[in-house]
């Protein structure tokens, strides 16, 4: 369809002219509010208190959402919001990994507050257009696009009936429509979802960036929590931001010299060490597949096992031959770690675009493990095909993979059958059946509609409709808080069980990934050690989300002398880099203690936000037993030597005197008790009471003892 024809069908629903302005030390001190029910568009000032306490990014998102919804708001109520916020450091071009923005809103999966981070150009261009955050509320009657022009100083809501929905087509259309010339495409970033985001609860958002060298629009994903579903529920087809004039000083940093110096140091480190470390520039995060398989923590067949001989077929070697490495693969300017690999031409074998050659944002570790090994499918071309369709349909590959593993185990154990699946034989390893479910999600038909509910709701559906045993499904359904697990086997790491369970949003590894420190290095032998790690790392990682930073340049590359430092796991030199970047942009001097305190403010605020929405207490921090230990005899016996040894060592039980069923139960009792002891220790370290609620002393110490928070804590703590 021609650009003119598409544009002709657009109808202007709302327009807002604003004063352009420049950022000052990383901030514009205003946010953009768009209401799709009323077509109101407005500017909101950011108060000094909000700036000091919430810092930016996810912090701003949480504060805006708190003010925009009530404790009874549901994800699909018009008052729910989608907030997209970069952070004060976001947008600098001197240091790798500084283009992240954070999406915040109420999740259809968890029913409470969610955050998801994403690369691409949207966050930085939004900032340079003059906004510290974009806050969207309300629901349009018909499909719309929101267009922010950061050079003209306009925001428009346009009815957009003719564009495609699926991302790989829509991002091209919107980029083409709003670019004045070919060169201008690099000044545009687009957010889209896709057909399946309308029909499932696991929708994601694609954020685009224009790849000049390949002359292609590429995408990064805000995958977790179902924001694509919220997006389509609000009848948003796309959000476009346009800004011409990106350069290295647009944040108007306090000391650009510090940014230059810190950036050059890391660029040199990457140039000299990446090839001998993780090879991120060549293979992205695919390097993790071999490591996870070697250490028995790669999830295989719905997390029953941690390795598989066939996993070699999904190694980085298997994927890198598809990668095109001739261009630059950073998802924001200045990122020399450039992990966003691309498959330039892949001929699709299934679905509505069968036979089409498409560009694929290449699979990362989580996708390969999720749709691959979790489903017992060890075929790289299946993974690439699945990755493409998940992206274009707008659904999260992690949730898709994990829920498909649950379906396959449910099918093989007789919980569901072909009658339920519409004839699909959903055994582990059946790649064509898995793809069929994915296409059904895209169309909103058949078993795909049930699958798209996510693991938590599927469990209930199977119990209610097919008489399934709820305790078995609760054991094997890899979800917590309603969110599907990301892709690591945590059975042998109690700390990682906490890293999944004791999170604000659900089992995503972006708070703490402690498996090696705990399980392999044995650096966290006591509950106190584990609790300390489950305090420091989640707070450290939260800080990235406040500032607009990517995690990967923190520890997917490390200085040559890192191994001789006191705490190599923390990468002390890189932590100092981040403090320097903060000072360089904002002019404020902080140390690690203050960094952690800044995060604690936001982290605890989010915990109380969960409380406000009816969650955020101990019972919501449970995890399925599959994440703690072997659910079935089959699993136990697959690692019998390990488990038998533990029975002897920890419980002084002679395994030869017990049968496998007894041993499964004894080990379970022990591990569940360990988890509860860990929960107590972590709550104590975080300044929470036994229910998992931040104490009044904690919120007072952090300066978030706002009246409504205090009242809520008092009510819920009684």
């Amino acid at each position: 369809m021609q650009k003119e024809q598409i544009l002709q069908a657009h109808k202007l629903l709302g327009k807002f002219d604003y004063q352009l302005g420049s950022l000052e030390r990383g901030y514009s001190d205003r946010t953009l509010y768009v209401n799709l029910s009323t077509n109101e568009i407005a500017e909101k000032p950011v108060s000094l208190e909000t700036k000091e306490k919430f810092i930016g990014g996810r912090g701003y998102g949480l504060k805006l959402l708190w003010d925009g919804v009530s404790g009874t708001t549901k994800w699909n109520d018009p008052e729910n919001e989608l907030i997209i916020a970069p952070g004060p450091v976001c947008g600098i071009t001197q240091y790798p990994g500084t283009g992240k923005s954070y999406v915040v809103g109420l999740s259809p999966l968890t029913q409470t507050v969610m955050d998801s981070n994403v690369g691409g150009y949207f966050g930085p261009l939004l900032k340079f257009s003059g906004w510290d955050a974009l806050e969207i509320q309300g629901k349009a009657e018909r499909d719309v696009v929101v267009v922010i022009d950061g050079n003209l100083g306009t925001v428009r809501i346009e009815e957009a009936p003719l564009e495609e929905i699926n991302s790989h087509l829509l991002i091209e259309q919107l980029t083409e429509i709003y670019a004045d010339t070919e060169e201008d495409k690099a000044n545009i970033s687009v957010i889209t979802a896709g057909d399946a985001a309308e029909h499932t609860l696991i929708g994601l958002l694609n954020f685009s960036f224009y790849d000049k060298s390949r002359q292609a629009v590429r995408i990064k994903q805000a995958g977790r929590g179902g924001f694509g579903t919220v997006f389509r529920d609000k009848k948003i087809k796309g959000i476009v931001v346009k800004f011409l004039g990106v350069k290295g000083n647009l944040n108007h940093p306090a000391d650009i010299g510090v940014l230059n110096k810190t950036g050059i140091k890391l660029h040199k480190e990457i140039a000299t060490l990446d090839d001998s470390q993780n090879k991120m520039r060549k293979i992205g995060t695919t390097y993790l597949m071999k490591i996870m398989n070697d250490y028995d923590i790669l999830p295989v067949r719905n997390f029953k096992y941690g390795s598989d001989p066939e996993a070699v077929n999904l190694s980085s070697d298997a994927f890198c031959k598809y990668f095109n490495l001739t261009g630059h693969d950073g998802c924001w300017y200045g990122c020399t770690l450039s992990c966003a690999k691309v498959i330039e031409s892949f001929k699709l074998k299934t679905g509505p675009y069968l036979g089409t050659e498409v560009i694929v944002d290449a699979p990362e570790y989580e996708t390969i493990a999720g749709v691959g090994s979790v489903c017992g499918i060890f075929d790289p071309e299946f993974v690439i095909e699945c990755n493409f369709y998940c992206d274009t349909y707008g659904i999260d590959t992690i949730s898709f993979g994990t829920l498909m593993g649950f379906i396959m185990e449910s099918y093989e154990s007789g919980v569901i059958n072909e009658e339920v699946t519409g004839g699909l034989q959903l055994n582990f390893g059946n790649s064509s059946a898995a793809l069929e479910v994915l296409h059904q999600m895209g169309q909103g038909v058949g078993f795909g509609k049930i699958a798209g509910l996510g693991v938590r709701r599927m469990k209930q559906f199977f119990v209610d409709n097919y008489g399934a045993d709820p305790s078995f499904l609760n054991d094997i359904g890899m979800e917590a808080k309603g969110l599907e697990f990301s892709e690591y086997v945590s059975k042998e790491s109690l700390a990682q069980q906490g890293g999944y369970g004791l999170t604000n949003k659900g089992p995503q590894h972006d708070e703490a990934w402690l498996i090696f420190m705990d399980m392999v290095n044995n650096q966290l032998p006591t509950f106190e050690d584990k609790a300390e790690a489950l305090h420091y790392f989640p707070m450290f990682r939260t800080w990235f989300s406040l500032l607009g930073l990517c995690k990967l340049p923190w520890n997917d590359i490390s200085p040559a002398n890192n191994r001789t430092t006191d705490e190599p796991a923390k990468i002390p030199e890189h932590v100092q880099n981040y403090l320097d970047l903060y000072t360089g942009v904002t002019g404020k001097q902080i140390d690690v203690k203050e960094m952690i305190r800044q995060s604690e403010v936001v982290y605890n605020f989010q915990r109380v936000f969960n409380l406000r929405m009816g969650f955020g207490t101990r019972e919501h921090d449970r995890i399925p037993y599959r994440a703690m230990g072997p659910v079935t005899v089959e699993e136990y016996e697959s690692r019998a030597e390990r488990y038998d040894q533990q029975l002897q060592q920890f419980l002084n039980i002679d395994p030869s005197e017990k049968n496998s069923e007894e041993k499964v139960q004894i080990l379970r009792n022990y591990r569940e008790d360990q988890y509860q002891q860990l929960v107590d220790s972590v709550y104590h370290r975080r300044g929470w009471n036994k229910q998992g609620i931040p104490t009044l002393e904690t919120v007072q110490r952090l300066g978030i003892d706002f009246n409504d928070l205090v009242q809520l804590i008092q009510e819920k703590s009684e």
Binding site: S276, Q277, N278, K290, I291, D294, Y295, G499, H509, D510, E511, A512, W513, L514, F516, M517, V520, N521, N522, Q523, P525, F537, F540, R541, K551, W554, N555, S558, N562, R563, T564, P568, A569, K570
Partner: protein, 65 residues
């Protein structure tokens, strides 16, 4: 018997750091090895022998998430 990261592991005559890492299945590319408090340079893993009773740390430099 030696300990590796605080856990018992059987010792054998001629055990080197390289052999130990192989036996443990430690394939991760960034591991710091410390024997009785003394760090072992990576390029000496193949020739550094571990004596019976040694306390070995094989710290994998990966953490955080």
């Amino acid at each position: 018997m030696i300990t590796v990261n605080g856990r018992d592991f059987p010792w054998e005559e001629g055990l080197t750091v390289e052999k130990l890492l192989q036996q443990k299945g430690y394939t991760f590319p960034a591991i710091v090895v410390i024997i009785n408090g003394n760090p072992v340079p990576e390029d000496e893993f193949y020739k550094t022998k571990i004596s019976d009773g040694a306390e070995v740390k094989a710290i994998h430099l990966i953490a955080g998430g």
